[in-house]
């Protein structure tokens, strides 16, 4: 049975190497030693002992919160902010959603729109825990892991046969219906999860008939399953799959050709699936091998039809596929020395309305990590990864991190590393001309050919001096040399456990970003508009401090609080303001004045201050549990109102706000749980700037445990 168990542990196998917890300096930490994380090192490690900042949200907490989708879980965590740009994404260490890699059981989710991976695509009903690694993790995980990694760990098969059914209904006719199933025998294990999530949507201002709803009605189905089979004493095979389909429909008013308004019916459907067979083999007590294959697809389709005539108004589609085989070897050379190495190959294709043809890119990578524990007090992890790519320069991402147990109740940890994010398909292959305004945008991969084509078609403006088309060669050269965005990041923090009941963590971070991608004009068209492409220019930084405290006030009652201080600025803007070259207009008097360094508020959509306060109560014998969670997001910039395209004045901020959520549950005879809750108790809304916030929401749910109880 000892061997059978590793089959069901994880796709990440180092626990099977039975590496004893590296340091057990005192008993105070033991209560949390069972909390393991896999995302930090790609091997199982105790949460308190990893040398980099990691947040873990357990299933118990997720249930106590009454959360339905991943966004509900993440937005209440210290240092994480949900932001909206073409969907709801996560901001981590002040970096936009495109810089955080999102994994399910260690495999990347695909299908981002303008960089955002919609968090509501992920149901949390079958999640065992969510791990959030803060700071770059490209040394292990490659592209996109520049700000950090969110890894969703789903439930593993439990001994016996069991499962549950769950029904929840709430405001806005939001219904969530689903169940889980788990079975495990001597050799075979199976989990399954199905979920239906639907809502009537909501309208924050105006009426849905006149202006269209803020969020249109939708229905989403998720199915997920994992099968594990013990092939031999040392070999295990598992097969996981996930499928999501979501449909949305609404009516909106558009300007008709006659000049009046016409009603258009909007229908969209998105599908997201993945399949992952994993083979693990234990060569010896010291060597463990994993072979993984992963394939994922993401497809969307949007149709706009005139209601009156049934004629099409517009349609669009987007198909993306991702295929990746990978090998990983974990070798425990001696106790306290673990070497992890791996290699893989990625093939990605995309086909879409705004791309010329099916586009394809390939990359191969190698990574290695040395996890060294020379003394029980010290742990050092050195890792690096190289990604070679068919479309841009290869990327080398090293990282060094260490943790030192200074005193039984005090540990220091620090890390320095490089993170990167590859140019996305849009930046490489987009082919788009705005029919109304008349400008064009081309991906860097084809911009030279497209500019030449426009020139032969006589669509470019001609310089009368030279008789040549107006093409900005320097910028065109920059576009063709497009490379990945990257960062150098530093984290330094303390873990303090002064009493068994109190835990404090503090972490300071700094991310220096370079080669950020921006659009730039490469040529001038005859119609006076420009041809745009992308180039690496912007330099920026984010830095700040994060603090978390947890105190067990009474048995069963835990209080916690978190705070993040954040500064995020564009370095070029800082320089220009210092040189006195930035101006602003007073919107009332129309007078122009010089912007002072102290006026600059940094990048948009970042809150200088954010904090949370939570109380979780649990009385297991009596079956009661309850939670109160308050999350404050400080004011943040939304855009420019005074003519300098940067954040420097009070009217450019969205005011700060509190979200207060309540939930309470009672379990009868260990099988039946009733839960009721209120989200956004204060009913805060901001229709102009926060369309994702629907106001106060009530809900009630019923959960029945079936089969063997855990």
């Amino acid at each position: 049975m000892r061997h059978a168990s590793f089959c069901f542990l994880l796709s990440l196998p180092a626990a099977a190497l039975a590496q004893a917890p590296a340091a057990q300096p005192d008993t105070l930490r033991r209560q949390r030693l069972d909390e393991v994380v896999v995302t930090a090192t790609r091997t199982e490690r105790s949460l308190t002992e990893v040398p980099i900042p990691v947040t873990v949200v357990s299933q118990q907490q997720i249930q106590a919160m009454g959360a339905l989708r991943l966004g509900d879980v993440l937005r209440e965590q210290t240092g994480l902010t949900t932001v909206n740009d073409h969907g709801q994404g996560i901001q981590l260490q002040g970096l936009n959603p495109e810089y955080t890699l999102i994994l399910v059981d260690g495999e990347p989710l695909i299908g981002r729109t303008a960089g955002t991976l919609e968090l509501s695509r992920i149901a949390v009903g079958n999640i065992q825990r969510v791990e959030v690694v803060k700071g770059p993790a490209s040394a292990l995980w490659g592209s996109e892991a520049l700000a950090g990694v969110v890894n969703i760990i789903t439930q593993k098969p439990q001994p016996g046969v069991g499962g549950n059914l769950r029904l929840r209904y709430g405001s806005n006719r939001t219904a969530d219906l689903g169940g889980t199933f788990s079975a495990k025998g001597e050799k075979l294990g199976l989990t399954a999860f199905v979920n239906r999530y639907s809502s009537a949507g909501y309208t924050l201002s105006g009426t849905p008939e006149a202006s269209g709803p803020t969020v249109a009605p939708f229905v989403s189905y998720t199915a997920q399953s994992r099968l594990s089979y013990q092939l031999g004493e040392r070999t295990c095979l598992s097969l996981s799959g996930r499928y999501l389909t979501e449909g949305q429909e609404s009516n909106l008013a558009v300007a008709a050709e006659t000049g009046g308004m016409a009603l258009v019916n909007y229908q969209s459907r998105q599908q997201d699936y993945n399949l992952s067979p994993v083979l693990t083999h234990r060569f010896s007590d010291k060597l463990f091998g994993t072979a993984r294959f992963y394939h994922s697809g993401y497809r969307t389709k949007e149709d706009y039809t005139y209601q009156a005539t049934g004629q099409p108004y517009d349609q669009a589609y987007f198909h993306q596929y991702y295929t990746r085989p990978e090998l990983q070897l974990d070798w425990q050379r001696r106790p306290g020395h673990v070497l992890t190495t791996g290699a893989g190959y990625i093939l990605e294709t995309v086909e879409a309305t705004r791309y010329d043809a099916r586009q394809r890119q390939r990359s191969g990578y190698l990574f290695g990590q040395y996890d060294w524990t020379p003394t029980p007090r010290l742990n050092v992890v050195l890792g690096a990864r190289f990604d070679g790519h068919s479309q841009y320069q290869g990327q080398f991402s090293p990282k060094l991190s260490a943790r030192y147990q200074l005193l039984p109740w005090l540990a220091v940890r620090g890390s320095a590393g490089r993170g990167y994010r590859a140019p996305d398909f849009r930046q490489l292959y987009l082919n788009f001309s705005n029919p109304v305004v008349g400008y064009s945008v081309f991906g860097t991969n084809q911009v030279r050919a497209k500019v030449a084509q426009l020139a032969t078609q006589g669509q470019l403006a001609v310089d009368p001096g030279t008789g040549q088309p107006v093409v900005y060669e320097a910028v065109l050269g920059q576009a063709q040399g497009l490379t990945a965005e990257s960062s150098r990041a530093y984290n330094l923090g303390l873990q303090i456990d002064p009493t068994p009941k109190l835990q404090l963590t503090v972490n300071g971070f700094r991310n220096d970003l370079q080669n950020l991608i921006e659009t730039a004009a490469v040529a001038l068209k005859k119609n006076g508009q420009s041809v745009y492409s992308y180039r690496n220019v912007t330099r920026a930084y984010t830095q700040g401090l994060e603090a978390d405290a947890r105190y067990q006030l009474l048995p069963g009652l835990t209080l916690s609080g978190g705070y993040q201080l954040l500064f995020a600025k564009d370095k070029a803007v800082v320089d220009r303001i210092a040189a006195g070259e930035v101006y602003r207009k007073d919107p009332q008097t129309q007078e122009t004045q010089r912007v002072q360094p102290a006026d600059y508020g940094g990048l948009y959509n970042r809150s200088r201050h954010s904090f949370n306060l939570k109380a979780f109560y649990e009385n297991q014998p009596r079956g009661w549990s309850a939670s109160v969670r308050g999350v404050y997001r400080g004011r943040y910039g939304f855009g420019d109102v005074n003519g300098n395209a940067l954040l420097d004045a009070d009217p450019e901020y969205v005011p700060g706000y509190w979200l207060v959520n309540l939930a309470a549950a009672k379990t009868f005879r260990r099988r039946l749980t009733l839960q009721a809750g209120v989200d956004n108790l204060l009913g805060y809304t901001n229709p102009q700037y926060i369309s994702s916030l629907p106001g106060r929401l009530y809900y009630a749910s019923l959960q029945v445990e079936l089969g063997k109880l855990r």
């Binding site: 558009v254 009368p464 001038l524 070259e581 919107p587 003519g643």
Partner: protein
């Protein structure tokens, strides 16, 4: 000290003159030519020439440019477009000067960064309108405005001062303050656009002094 008194007197005189002019004639401020203090004039909501809306409901392309004489301080009819009676012309985000491919005059322009009050001398070299681009670039971020692709709003870039050589070769400086009707502090997509509000200083004596 004498100079100081002299200047003070001149300022007083100017102020008095202004007051008198506005009392006498509200519509016409052009008679005031007391030297050397040049007057900053403001123009509000210079309206576009209405055109039919496009198929997608965007505001239609105005039928033609709206012409303005900095020299005279008034709008010039379209029928005078082939003359040197106008100095600048506006249509959507394009601003023309009366020179090069746009008109028969000696017009030119140069966009500089700085405060309107601090930039007091007209530069020596000017661009003229050409097929390859206008003297005042009609491109977001590099001329007088920024286009926000999220909100689709046009915002004049703060601290952009346009030096204009007029149709007759005199100098002026101009700062566009709003592109929307009524110069609202927070325009929306529904605010009628193409309505130019600007301030300018015109030097009638032909010198480059724009103090």
């Amino acid at each position: 000290m004498n100079h100081l008194f002299l200047r003070l007197a001149l300022v007083l005189l100017t102020v008095a003159g202004l007051g008198l002019t506005s009392c006498n004639n509200d519509d016409d401020q052009q008679d005031d030519t007391v030297k050397p203090a040049l007057e900053t004039k403001t123009v509000a909501d210079l309206a576009p020439q209405p055109g039919a809306p496009t198929s997608t409901g965007q505001p239609g392309q105005p039928r033609h440019y709206t012409f303005y004489s900095l020299t005279e301080g008034k709008e010039v009819p379209y029928t005078d477009s082939a003359s040197t009676k106008w100095d600048v012309a506006f249509r959507r985000t394009n601003v023309l000067i009366n020179g090069g491919t746009s008109g028969p005059g000696q017009g030119g322009a140069k966009v500089e960064s700085g405060l309107f009050a601090e930039l007091t001398t007209a530069p020596d070299t000017y661009a003229v309108d050409a097929a390859s681009g206008l003297a005042i670039p009609a491109v977001t971020g590099s001329g007088w405005y920024n286009y926000n692709s999220t909100t689709h709003l046009i915002t004049p870039i703060a601290g952009k001062v346009i030096f204009v050589r007029t149709a007759t070769g005199k100098y002026a400086k101009l700062e566009i303050t709003s592109y929307y009707q009524g110069s609202p502090a927070s325009p929306t997509l529904a605010t009628p656009s193409g309505y130019y509000s600007f301030r300018y200083v015109y030097q009638p004596d032909g010198s480059k002094n724009l103090k």
